[in-house]
Amino acid sequence: MSLVEAVDLNVWFAGGRVHAVRDASLRLEPGRCLALVGESGSGKSALARSLLGLAGPTATVTAGELRIAGQDTRGFGPRDWRKVRGRHVGLVSQDALVALDPLRPIGAEITESLLAHRTVPRNKVGERVVDLLTRVGVPEPEERARQYVHQLSGGLRQRALIASAIAAEPGILIADEPTTALDAAVQARVLALLDELKEQGTGLLLISHDLAVVEALADEVAVMRHGVIVETGPTDRVLDDPRHEYTRELLAAVPGTRPRPPRGPLAKGDPLLTVTGVVKRFGARTAVAGADFTLRPGETLGLVGESGSGKTTLARVVLGMAAPDEGTVLLDGAPWSGVPERARRSRRRTIQLIPQDPLSAVDPRWPVSRVVGEALAATGVPRAERTARTVLLLERVGLTPDLLDRRPAALSGGQRQRVAIARALAPQPKLLVCDEPVSALDVSVQAQVLDLLRRLQEELGLATLFISHDLAVVREVCDRVMVMKDGVVVESGPVEDVFAGPAHPYTKALLDAVPRRARTAHEPAQERL
Amino acid sequence: MPPSRAVLAAALLIALAACGTENTPAVGGAGEAAKPVTSGSLTHAVDEEPDCWDPHVSAQDVTSFLQRPVYDSLVYQTPDGALEPWLATKWEVSPDSKAYTFTLREDVVFHDGAKLDAEAVKANFDHITAKETNSQYAAGLLGPYKGVSVVAPNQVKIEFTRPYVPFLQAASTTALGIASPASLKAGSDVLCAAGAGSVGSGPFTSGAYVRGQERTYAKNAAYNWAPKDAGHAGPARLDSVKVRFISEDATRVGALSSGQVDTASKIPANQLGVLKANPELQVLDKQVPGAVNAFYLNTKGALFSDVKVRQAFQRAIDVDTLVKSVFQGIYPRAWSPLSPTTPSSYDASLENTWPTDTALAGKLLDEAGWTGRDSEGYRTKDGKRLTVVAPIYGEASTFSQAVQGDLKKSGIYLDLLASTDAIEIGGRLDEGRYDVVELSWARGDGDILSHFFFSDQTSKNSGHNFAQVTDPGVDKWLTAAQTAQEPAQRAAEYAQVQKWAIENAVVVPTYVDTQNLGASKKVHDLRLSISAHPEFYAAWVESP
């Protein structure tokens, strides 16, 4: 018997004005994993939630057939759905920090699942909580049960969330982006736990935008776009031999899965940027504990590390936005740190930032023309020439002049980032600092922006300091790479060398955590090089 | 509320002398069939609360009223105004009216057990006149005080530097009430705080006091020295009295109507109708003797130094209509600065001699050069609006506002500067930065006129000569009246002053203050004193 059997499922929102899911059909068997793949807004979450009767208060759900654990759920009232939830279908969502009640100990959260269906006698509940925590691999379960979510690490949190979802032993587990909020290394371990549950017979409905995760876990894939399932099939078949146009697009956009473009010989010449022994402290905490590197014209240096490793602080020191406590920064051979702002001001045009969040990076009141115009004015472009130059810059970053009068709120995320890039290019810099330039963007947009950056780099011969937590992206765009951990640069070298033979255990761990597909996908590209 | 409210609000002082032909209002008089009960309690609502409860210090009328049950005086004054022995069995006045010798009762015991004697009385006069006491009123009542001396254990003599006939009336006031000498040593904190600090020899002892809420009194069972005409003898009939402070008129009346209190004073005229219509309630009223409510015009000010402008102001106000409207026909309109009930001094010949005449007022103002008109219809001269500045301590009364509205019709802007801020008002009055001051001041003696018109009684100099009159003739008449012991002679002198004041338009009398007391019909034998406050001593309440 199938655990889930849905035929022609439709979900509408807002009194029928938004058709979120159209005629979707799917089936889930015990011990199997079905992955729903698509970009945000594709309707995959609405579809999954409708299997719990939780599509939302404004939602209308219809289906030709909707059987869950053998019961026909069409016409179910709130009371009937309550019996299904938790007992037959469990939910694991994205971030346990918010998906578990932060004001209650995790033990209470798991207990709530147990008591909701009275699957365990009241006096056995404590024992059962400990069992469950043990089962999902939480050490010292008795103590953990008394702790709150914020007291647990990301991995343990997610395990606790899974424990609360499987407490009443549901046959079906919906995992909605279960690892997105986790660091790479922890991600792998949580995926292993889900895999184990699947092996034990749970039917897993996985929702993810990360194809690597999907490949690691799913037996079957359903690709959704605009509420429609455009393609379904066994995972390997869909990923290796996509039949639908959209699936192909999606696959091509995943960073790191694309061929690494040929790169010229490593740059030579006088260093544009020289960082020597830079240390930056905030109170008792040392954010950067001694960084040394140089950057030559035309060279791209990747800076990799998890959040809190000191990447952004180092970038701010390089940009002259923060003064180092020790060490020096030379720009174009002249001191850049330790000089008054007045001395820096005229030289600032040399080095420009492309920020992570382009929305906050532009004045919300200003139209595009003024945003770019300010940058041109700051570098002495006469007023008369500004409009023409702005149009040229917009064209250079792939934007049309009709956006000139738009304000940031009326632009898409990708457009905004392009405007930010145009502004950074306006003073004709020699060095770009890109701080996670694509991590706030959708996957398909990410690829376009990365392409743009790479093109600009080649055309203009810019040196780039490229900061990212995403190894795949770094590998794609950088010549050299530095790995940071707790403020210390633990390893650096040419990208190929570091990726092929990581010397530091931390680098190794980072690389191991990258899902299989992302790694293997590079093999042919390397060969082609 | 600072004591100064007593000056500018309609303040009433315990008055001397008889109230002429007025009947003594009392609730449920002797004619009633009901038999007095010698137990029970009464709750009374008043509109204001003393800041300092020491009658020797406070100038507030309400302090005198609310401390009366606790403190007895040497002399008692009946509601009809006659003086009779109280703590003093008799007194002798020296022929030059400069010395008063009192012989004291010998059976009087203070609430703390001390006996009344001449030393005790001396201690009181010493306390009143001591600098540390900062007496705001009692010391002033003593006028040209020279000193006090013990003549015999039961005889005490008070002397003055010049003849001072009004003293005997002053001796009957609560302000000169006799406190236990021990209690006077407790310091101003304790004396001002009421409660256990107030120790006298009165028919009631001072009970608990909650500021802003209520004060209680308990029967003094040992009391046996009531004056002859107190309407009762021996201990008070009521076991206890509770006084509640309810400043909002509507609330006070509401409390009376709903039976939360048995009696309430200061019933606004516009609410009397409601009370009278209530079958369970009754209303007592009594015209207050002394200075009527009047506007005193600053004759030294820029505006009113011109007698024509003063006369215009006097004639412009439609006093008859306003008094009738605001006080619902209950308060009489005044023609003289003195109340008709002030004994042996009222000049009835002034009546109807200066009727409202807006045409005349207009003509006078035109002559004085106030010929222009501004956008709001006020008269102007050299572009300046005809503004009459009237500082008011407290809030502008309905009557003041009605006058303000009426004067607008004649193009005069009456600027009512109402404030409880003594710094501002006091400064203004002392420095003469005003055009008119409106007030009433109760006293059963024509001598009140000297407070208002004697040249040295300026605001800065402890007096109420707000009109800033400096006329040798007036001074002469007033001095003669203070020295003469013959009532008819005094009356003649006072009549001169009244006539002069009206003819020179230094004052615009408006209405005769009338005290209204609302009471449940269950309350009996509650009468209004000479100063128109209820006397609780003889009162009793029907048991429900």
Partner: protein, 312 residues
């Protein structure tokens, strides 16, 4: 221990700063304070004025007056009231209880009302929410003095159900409490409902529903506690409103209390009393702030200092 000390020091600083502000403000008042002491009654001579000036230390240089003031403040003496000729501390102590009664009653009533209405109107149906929102808007927009007057007119004067003035009994506390609590309750309801609704939209509420927990249990067990956090943030405002509201409510209902004495002192320029009230309300504010910090920690374990250690 260090935390407690730091807390005390910063609390003392706030009180000191507020008191200093009050002192400076009162120096700016034009005119001679002696009039405030003796009143404008002219039965006091020039000479007596001088003596009073001396007695109250008004003849000393400003710095000396200030130091004197701070020292007195630190020892909880506020000097003597100009008007009542009693120590300010005595005056305030006498008036404290009626205000505390009123404030406590309102403190109980307002959150109670707020919780009831917020929970009742945070359900799926939108119309109770709309009705409640409209009522809240009206209540919040109604100045408390008018609300009080209207309640008084209707329930005391027209219907005669409740006493028109303070009697010391519970009945006379009803209308003042409602007048004081209603606007607070309306604002609290808005905040709590917003908190509830946003909590019900949070992932943890979805998780709880996905466990098969009934909607009401989600609301009471999870969301209500979350909505208490923004409500607690309002506590400073709440305290201020209680004290400020007391000024108005006590005057409307002719009740004794700190509010009444404050208005009187302001009207009379009874500066020692004003300074006393300022110091008192600063102390209350600081105390409430400390209490709220404790409550925060009770409600939200993330704010408990000791438990903030990351356990991996």
């Amino acid at each position: 221990m260090r935390g407690v000390l730091a807390r005390l020091v910063s609390a003392a600083l706030v009180v000191w700063a507020a008191a200093t502000c009050a002192f400076l403000v009162l120096q700016l008042i034009p005119g001679d304070p002696v009039y405030a002491i003796v009143g404008s009654d002219a039965l006091v001579s020039e000479e007596q004025h001088e003596r009073i000036r001396e007695e109250y230390g008004l003849d000393q240089p400003l710095v000396a007056q200030y130091l004197n003031y701070v020292v007195r403040l630190a020892t909880f003496r506020f000097g003597e009231s100009y008007q009542l000729q009693q120590p300010v501390s005595t005056v305030l102590a006498d008036q404290l209880w009626p205000t505390v009664q009123l404030a406590l009653a309102a403190t109980v009533l307002a959150p109670l009302l707020a919780v009831l209405v917020a929970v009742a109107t945070s359900g799926r149906a939108a119309w109770p929410r709309r009705v409640a929102a409209a009522v809240e808007l009206v209540v919040v927009s109604t100045p408390s003095f008018w609300l009080g007057i209207m309640l008084l007119t209707i329930f005391s004067f027209r219907l005669g159900w409740l006493p028109v003035a303070e009697t010391g009994g519970v009945a006379s506390l009803v209308l003042p409490t409602i007048t004081l609590a209603l606007p607070i309750a309306a604002v609290l309801t808005q905040v709590m409902r917003e908190g509830l609704l946003s909590a019900l939209d949070q992932p943890f509420a979805v998780t709880a529903r996905a466990r098969g927990v009934p909607e009401t249990a989600v609301r009471y067990r999870h969301a209500l506690r979350h909505s208490a956090i923004p409500a607690l943030t309002m506590a400073g405002w709440f305290t201020g409103t209680l004290l400020g509201g007391a000024v108005i409510v006590e005057n409307v209902f002719a009740r004794p209390g700190i509010g009444r004495i404050t208005l009187q002192a302001v009207g009379d320029r009874d500066l020692p009393v004003v300074q006393g009230v300022v110091a008192l309300s600063a102390v209350v504010f600081v105390a409430v702030a400390a209490l709220i910090d404790v409550l925060y920690a009770v409600v939200d374990p993330r704010l408990r200092r000791r438990t903030g250690v990351q356990a991996i």
